[in-house]
Symmetry: C2
Subunit: 361 residues, 2 copies
């Protein structure tokens, strides 16, 4: 029997192209059988639905939310002052189980604030993180945090690793994720005080920790979970985005440079479009939150209908796995791991308490 | 009259392909009229020279250095214990003005240690940095530090900006460099305590400081000097390298996917090679040091003859500008800038002392 799952709540008002592109994405998803609740000012959302000629037979509901969080709004203040904002209402639907997950392309700080405010955190989670699913040569490596926690302590990185491990196993489907800390070199002596302390603790964790990974390894698929502070994660992610764009621009210029290369470009066009699709952030469908009691996906602010449709699909898939149930257990040993890794502790003698041991034979 | 300039000292023993590729690169440079001193164990270097059939008329000297720093050697210890190592001897030639600059593809930590140990720092420089010259769509933006100073204080970032400004003006030839701090967003409220403190001080500096820049802006050419701590700089640089490689791999796969796309790829081959060359790190020729009393270039460990030839050319060009003479003046206001930016200081009333004001009309 296929598990029945509640629809995905979609913030109709979030993103540069809202509500048009968002509603269109929801319609596309609904046409493929994915149930959606569009959240936003009802008259506005219904108007969009009729403009897109969504049939009444589609699995789309509309849930009213009278207020909208703007991109310049302060996240925390927006949650407190605009009590009926579409992001917050999405999370309330998730909390009351009327939605299985939520998707928003709006103010990402407000999405994180809403998640913490409405859903709360599993026991023991210090700071929730935002995961970026990378378009690697093979696999789907997770990079976290991509911007939620800018100034990190070692315990944050340790928890990102433990939570990322859960997500990689349960949602991505990697049996034994290779977990690494992002650093400026492979040797243990590299890194900062922060990365060295986190790596020392993670060596004792009940996960497959493989040490440091470098910027050049993010897209090779050699690592499944890569943890870093939100500042570095954000810089790395945007650097990838910018580099791919610039290389694409060089490619375009190269193909336009001579008549022969133009013909070559035309002949290769379909294949090149396929490549573009492979590295297109819209295919990834958004960045999942981890460390909150429910499933939320932050989509790119520039999301179009395709990005939203994909985000709805991924959010639904994530919700089906109930991975959030495992988070509290996963982060439970954080303090013990850090204590065991401290210089002078009885290293290796007193193992940290294992409340979960997912990889044991 | 063209200024006579001493030859460039080249560490014949540094890098994965030393001494063969290094000697070949030096010969290529010499054939184009660039004078070189090859530094390393003399019999070995002479053997390579004769293997490459370098004519005796080429402007190549050999300077003996009996020891070699290995990649696993501790930089500081190598400088102290291997007193006659090829990196150190290169810097001694620079110090005694028998060489105008040095180039090494060896242990980059040892190159930096050698520079500090032998050349020393201009007055007031806290920490020298390594500059990466980025292959941007337009211009040649400088990213620093790329790995020398991993744990940074605000004063370090401020000095990187002031020194990078000098390098951009004097060596790259940008009249009024746009200087930025790398961060996780454009708004002043973004960043870490480190970046906010540095940005506040730089707003008062006698340079054209334009605020934060993001990872996606590194290669657009909108910024001329981008400063960050050595950890983030290293991650960003290797992320660019890795992304370009992965996009290239996707491109290759796309072009090989069908018969038609294969033909297209063949027709576009020359143009694509041109693109590859544009983003090839070997064309950049290495990373200049800044904040030491002399000119040193760190080349990629995988440098081949082309990379070495380009590094020799760039090092020589940098030496001709005598940019190092301006560094002490540029960093002189560091403390005053930081003090003026502190909350509670008489902001804007007591301007920091300007010992240099390069952009004043």
């Amino acid at each position: 029997m296929v598990e029945k799952i509640a629809p995905v709540a979609v913030d109709a008002m979030g993103g540069d192209h809202a509500p048009g592109a968002i509603v269109q994405g929801a319609i596309n998803a609904a046409r493929k059988g994915l149930a959606v609740v569009l959240v936003g000012p009802e008259p506005r959302v219904r108007e969009e639905l009729s403009r897109h000629r969504a049939g009444k037979d589609l699995p789309i509901e509309v849930h009213h939310a009278s207020e909208v969080v703007e991109m310049h709004d302060h996240p925390g203040q927006a949650m407190r002052r605009k009590k009926d904002n579409s992001i917050r209402v999405c999370f309330e639907l998730v909390k009351s189980k009327r939605a299985s997950a939520m998707v928003s392309a709006g103010n990402s700080g407000a999405v994180m604030a809403g998640a913490i405010f409405v859903l709360g955190r599993p026991d023991g989670v210090e700071r929730p993180a935002i995961i970026s699913v990378l378009p690697a040569l093979k696999g789907s490596p997770l990079l976290l945090d991509m911007g939620a926690v800018v100034d990190c302590r070692p315990s944050h990185l340790v928890q990102f690793a433990l939570m990322g491990d859960v997500y990689a196993r349960r949602v991505i489907g990697v049996a034994k994720p290779r977990v690494a800390v992002l650093a400026n070199g492979e040797e243990d002596s590299k890194g900062t005080d922060l990365t060295r302390a986190a790596a020392a603790a993670l060596r004792k964790a009940p996960i497959h920790f493989v040490g440091y990974c470098e910027g050049r390894d993010l897209l090779t698929g050699e690592f499944d979970v890569i943890v870093t502070d939100g500042f570095t994660g954000n810089v790395a992610l945007k650097t990838m985005e910018g580099t791919a764009k610039v290389v694409g621009e060089y490619l375009k210029r190269a193909l336009m440079s001579t008549t022969v290369s133009k013909i070559g470009g035309l002949l290769a066009k379909q294949a090149l479009e396929g490549m573009k699709k492979r590295i297109d952030w819209r295919e990834v469908g958004g960045a999942p939150l981890v460390g909150v009691n429910g499933v939320g996906f932050i989509s790119h602010g520039r999301s179009d209908a395709l990005a939203i449709e994909n985000a709805i699909r991924r959010a639904r898939e994530a919700a089906r796995t109930h991975f959030t149930d495992e988070i509290a257990n996963a982060v439970a040993p954080t303090e013990a791991l850090l204590a065991a890794a401290e210089p002078g502790s009885a290293n290796g003698e007193a193992e940290p308490q294992r409340r979960t041991a997912p990889h044991e034979a």
